[in-house]
């Protein structure tokens, strides 16, 4: 079981569309949620008779609730602009991983049941009945999309392809065909408070351990508080920050920033998760339930502001939807944005001279930055357009002397997904994850060759874990991936302020 002979695809000589390999990924089938995982989320445990009609009904329901979805399904003209923009198509060469082809798996069913031409002459307009074969294709290929929306950037009609993947997954969940990885995790958040299933006492133990480590290393008593009522800041961060390398080094960095700024903060054992996996499942109800935990704690603790740690889609949900999901947040201090990103927070402190950074602490590194898709394409930081690109870079540049960007076609809003987002960061999809990392690895290789880049910084727990896993397949060291706030934490000058 442990041995895998998986090999990374070869770098392309030029970043051109690769030749097609029909059905190359048709075997990819992520584990199906067990009935217990489904039922925890009030979804049917498995497919039951009559699921075909229920799937069509659910699609009808979504079309009513989400007018944009109908526009996306209607407006594609098959221009082809999106075809070669997907990391999974580039890495797997499977034509069904062209975004347009993947969307058409759902669009064809939409046509059959919701358009006049599809009802009358299905064969002429590419309309298909909702059958088991169609459903199987949905399950395979809608779990080969990270909802990263790179293709949408290039779509002249602005079709948000992620919304189509989310709709398909939402429908599948509602008929009893869910994905194990995401649905088990959502259930854990409802029960325990985070994706890991890390109970309160373990969280406290972990945070005390970090206090010891930082004290040992720096001689400074930096606190990592849990469940402190009356703290100024509620930090909501992905639970991977408590558990995995390198995310935990980012958490240490946040702690040092709070310490040096003299701002009291806490995490909560009840809302101990920033990531909202319900986004991946396209489920507003579940998204709502997860987001409400944050509101509840913020109110109970009486905090003045909520700050999110480094987590891509957490920030997407927080920035774009938090207020509608769990607002209004009129009980917070109106001086601060709701919510705030940890990078905005650190950036502001640096600009005000409240933090002293010594970038020479990172002189052993040449750093580049990977824009996380959900931050880059779906949100903003700070008060100016493009803040989500500039702020992380400005913070990193304040912490390091050697910084280089990757190829402009692969950063900012055109960033390539790490290959593990959207609920696909699971071992059963390792082949897909390795292949999907190809375009990012190509861009990384370029700056390694041209500028001697040694580290790639990221601001998302998924990206960090994905890179730690796939970098070795491309002959890079797994420790090349680093948290943005680790760079800050290593450069920060702790101690008395002048």
């Amino acid at each position: 079981m442990a041995k895998d002979k998986l090999e990374a695809p070869a770098y392309r000589e030029f970043p051109s569309p690769p030749p097609l390999r029909e059905g190359a990924m048709s075997h990819m089938h992520t584990f199906i949620a067990k009935p217990a995982h489904q039922e925890d989320l009030d979804w049917p445990g498995e497919l039951e008779d009559g699921w075909e009609q229920r799937a069509v009904d659910k699609l009808g329901d979504l079309l009513k609730k989400n007018k944009a979805l109908r526009v996306y399904l209607d407006s594609c003209v098959k221009c082809g602009a999106c075809t070669d923009k997907c990391h999974y198509y580039i890495g797997t060469q499977d034509p069904k991983n062209m975004p347009v082809a993947r969307q058409d798996l759902l669009r064809s069913v939409y046509r059959r049941y919701f358009t006049i031409s599809g009802k009358l002459v299905p064969g002429l307009v590419g309309a298909r009945d909702m059958t088991k074969d169609v459903l199987d294709e949905w399950y395979n290929y809608y779990h080969q999309c990270t909802e990263c929306r790179r293709c949408s950037v290039f779509c002249p009609y602005g079709i948000d392809t992620a919304e189509i993947t989310m709709a398909a997954r939402d429908i599948m969940n509602h008929i009893g065909l869910g994905q194990k990885y995401s649905n088990e995790i959502i259930g854990k958040v409802h029960k325990i408070g985070n994706n890991l299933g890390l109970p309160g006492p373990a969280l406290v133990d972990t945070m005390e351990g970090l206090e010891e480590d930082v004290l040992d290393e720096t001689g400074v008593d930096v606190k990592f508080p849990v469940d402190v009522h009356g703290a100024d800041v509620l930090l909501v961060t992905p639970s991977a920050d408590f558990f995995a390398e390198p995310p935990v080094d980012g958490l240490i960095g946040y702690g040092k920033v709070f310490h040096q700024a003299g701002i009291s903060w806490t995490v909560s054992s009840y809302a101990s998760e920033a990531a909202n996996f319900a986004l991946f499942a396209g489920s507003t109800e579940q998204m709502h339930k997860i987001a409400r935990r944050i509101r509840k704690v913020a109110q109970e603790f009486g905090v003045k502001r909520i700050i999110f740690g480094e987590c891509g889609h957490a920030w997407r949900v927080a920035y774009s939807f938090l207020n509608t999901l769990a607002g209004p947040f009129d009980f917070l201090d109106p001086k601060y944005p709701v919510p705030q990103h940890i990078l905005e927070f650190t950036y502001d402190l640096i600009n005000r001279g409240a933090l002293k950074l010594d970038p020479s602490a990172n002189d052993d590194k040449v750093v580049t930055f990977h824009d996380s898709c959900n931050v880059a394409r779906a949100s903003r930081m700070g008060t100016r357009p493009g803040g989500q690109f500039n702020i992380p870079r400005e913070v990193i540049k304040a912490a390091v002397n050697n910084y280089v960007d990757m190829n402009p076609e692969t950063i900012h809003e055109k960033t390539f997904c790490c290959g593990g987002g959207g609920g696909l960061l699971t071992d059963d999809l390792m082949e897909l994850r390795v292949k999907g990392a190809l375009p990012r690895m190509e861009a990384l290789q370029e700056v390694v060759d041209s500028h001697g880049v040694t580290h790639i910084a990221a601001i998302c727990a998924i990206c960090k874990t994905q890179f730690a896993k796939v970098l070795p397949y491309y002959d890079f060291g797994m420790d090349m991936i680093i948290s943005a706030h680790q760079l800050v934490g290593d450069a920060i000058q702790l101690g008395e302020k002048e």
């Binding site: 079981m1 442990a2 041995k3 584990f31 990885y181 088990e184 995790i185 854990k188 985070n194 994706n195 890991l196 299933g197 890390l198 109970p199 006492p201 373990a202 133990d205 972990t206 351990g209 970090l210 480590d213 992905p238 639970s239 991977a240 408590f242 558990f243 995995a244 390398e245 995310p247 935990v248 990531a275 987590c311 960061l425 071992d427 059963d428 727990a461 998924i462 960090k464 874990t465």
Partner: protein, 110 residues
């Protein structure tokens, strides 16, 4: 899926993690380790024992950092690092060692 241990069937999930941690025994662990192509040494068992102790107390596997620190304290600084643990458990101490220890797989962005 399941393991056959001394004539008994022990259920596991698709990836070989035990469905019920209560079914764990040394013999089960040895069979899982064999499936993972690992030759278990005393050093491996030190890690497995610690994981199980920690799980007993906290109902979750320890973070890698916590594990590294505990191993360092218990068995000496030369064993207290990530590299050592990856040498023992090439597929990652968190996941592979948890499987052998009968613990559930850590989920989430890890």
């Amino acid at each position: 899926m399941s393991y056959e241990v001394n004539g008994k069937t022990i259920e596991c999930d698709e990836e070989g993690y035990l469905e019920d941690i209560g079914e764990w025994s040394l013999d089960v662990a040895k069979i899982i380790a064999k499936d993972e192509n690992l030759d278990m040494t005393d050093e491996h068992w030190e890690v497995i024992d610690y994981l199980r102790e920690y799980y007993d107390e906290y109902q979750i596997a320890p973070a890698v950092r916590v594990l590294v620190k505990a191993i360092k304290k218990k068995f000496g600084p030369e064993k207290g690092n990530n590299k050592y643990l990856y040498e023992l458990f090439p597929y990652g101490p968190a996941k592979q060692a948890c499987k052998i220890a009968g613990l559930p797989k850590p989920t989430g962005c890890v």
